[in-house]
């Protein structure tokens, strides 16, 4: 898998005013890479992810997945949203199996696959529960495997743990890494949390404020599992905060 984001710009027209969300974004993502995207609010992070998902179209530029231009949503690009996106009228297992169901896999086979993932999450006993019966953390874990069961080449995650408390968040990060290592996925992960990015990513992309563009890219070469409070982690966090901080300064001026 290779993902190439080439000169992507996106402009929105809102009430007659043109707002440029993305300005000439370039990025290349390698196979099985874990990339975190950081940036101030409104820097177009979500827009970038939506364009990659095919839910939005760039005004100019293009995105190539294994050489093919992305035009529409597709199963090879899974997406996990910040808000709880499980279908409330479906049980847990029918949520996880949704992608297989629309592909036409018969019930027995898709339940079998879905149960494998429930086992991976250690949530087997919630198979027939409805989303309202689950905690926020459980819902997001299920949303993640619902995207992964389709075996996507690329997993797009838009602040998936943003609504969770700090404790649950840490647990979820560790679990995501476990799934990532087991399933060999390429992940593009948007976050507001520098700590989260340093804990998770191989590379951290810092975006500038509106219009969003790639400002700096940091390589995180720490071995996993990472110690959040290690000297090296602190050093990287510091560099990133500086990078982010300078543009907060820009915005204040």
């Amino acid at each position: 898998m290779t993902l190439i984001i080439k000169n992507v710009s996106r402009t929105f027209a809102a009430k007659g005013i043109m707002i440029q969300a993305l300005d000439n974004v370039n990025l290349e993502v390698k196979d099985e890479e874990f990339i975190c995207i950081l940036g101030p609010s409104g820097c177009g992070k979500t827009t970038l992810l939506r364009v990659i998902a095919g839910l939005d179209k760039p005004t100019s530029g293009e995105i190539l997945l294994d050489g093919a231009r992305i035009e529409n949503p597709g199963q090879e690009r899974g997406m996990v949203f910040q808000d709880y996106s499980l279908f409330p009228w479906r049980t847990v297992i029918d949520n996880i199996a949704f992608g297989l169901e629309v592909m036409g896999v018969d019930r027995e086979k898709r339940y079998e696959r879905a149960r494998e993932y429930l086992k991976l999450l250690d949530l087997e006993k919630f198979e027939n529960s409805y989303p309202y019966e689950l905690s926020g953390g459980m819902r997001q874990r299920i949303a993640i495997v619902r995207a992964i069961i389709n075996n996507p080449k690329l997993l797009l995650m838009d602040e998936p743990f943003g609504a969770l408390d700090a404790q649950t968040r840490n647990v979820m990060q560790a679990e995501l890494l476990r799934i990532w290592e087991k399933k060999h996925k390429t992940i593009l992960f948007i976050t507001h949390s520098v700590d989260e990015a340093v804990y998770l990513a191989d590379r951290i992309v810092v975006m500038s404020g509106r219009p969003g563009t790639v400002k700096e890219i940091f390589n995180v070469v720490l071995p996993r599992p990472r110690i959040r409070t290690s000297q090296e982690a602190n050093r990287i966090r510091d560099m990133i905060l500086r990078s982010l901080g300078s543009q907060i300064g820009d915005a204040a001026r």
Binding site: W89, F98, V102
Partner: protein, 250 residues
């Protein structure tokens, strides 16, 4: 029996006591306020002869026929209108004008168009009454489906058709079901209008015929029967709603 049941019964009991008192005092002639005892005797008589059940049977048949047709057209059209802006623009002005016309105004045409039928003409009036609440609630439901669910389904590989059947339809089910409940209620309420075309049987025609011979006690029997059956139907629909929508979890 607990305290909650007692609460339910307080107002109906007071109503009956007042009715009884007014009847016994003989303040009004029986055609203005039919005495309670007279109404009860008519009720018992109509039940024991089985006449009341014949009226009920035909009314229920007509309401079910009109309601079924209203659902069969109203739900798909509502989904289409909620989903497609161009269909909405095409159909909405016309439906919005027609829905202002009360069902009873259609009676003259119902008589001309469906004169031969025992069921059709009345079912048509019920259809007019039931159709619009079903249509409007379905549209509201479809328009209210969170875009998040639709986009999730797209990224999971669903086609537009699958999104309609597997996301939009179940997500708007709460609104569709309340549309059906309101629809059958209004359809049932249109009964008297629907059965004023000289039918032999039906609760509506029973009320009209009884009133022309000034048997106001029987009019009241018809009214109470319509009220009670309507109440039972509403309860039934509420039960169906809560069992189909258990996923909402309260």
């Amino acid at each position: 029996m607990n305290a909650r049941w007692a609460y339910y019964l307080i107002l109906p009991s007071i109503f009956l006591v007042l009715w009884y008192a007014v009847s016994e005092a003989e303040i009004y002639p029986s055609y203005i306020i039919p005495p309670l005892g007279m109404v009860v005797r008519s009720f018992v008589e109509l039940i024991s002869t089985g006449t009341l059940f014949q009226h009920i049977f035909w009314s229920v048949v007509r309401v079910i026929a009109g309601f079924a047709l209203a659902s069969l057209i109203g739900i798909p059209l509502g989904i289409g209108m909620g989903w497609s802006n161009s269909l909405m623009r095409l159909v909405e002005p016309l439906t919005n004008i027609i829905r202002q016309i009360p069902p009873i105004a259609w009676v003259p045409f119902a008589m001309i168009w469906f004169k031969a039928g025992v069921v059709e003409s009345s079912a048509f009036i019920v259809f007019i009454g039931a159709f619009f609440p079903i249509l409007l609630n379905t549209i509201t439901g479809v328009k209210g489906v969170p875009i998040l669910f639709i986009e999730s389904a797209y990224t999971l590989g669903a086609s537009s058709r699958q999104i309609l059947t597997k996301v939009v339809l179940p997500a708007s089910m709460p609104n569709i079901l309340s549309g059906l409940r309101i629809g059958i209620g209004i359809g049932w309420m249109s009964l008297v209008a629907a059965e004023m075309m000289g039918q032999d049987y039906g609760l509506g025609s029973f009320i009209i015929v009884s009133s022309t011979v000034l048997r106001m006690d029987r009019v009241v029997v018809g009214m109470i029967t319509i009220g009670l059956l309507g109440f039972l139907m509403d309860r039934l629909f509420k039960e169906i709603e809560s069992s189909l929508l258990s996923w909402r979890g309260h």
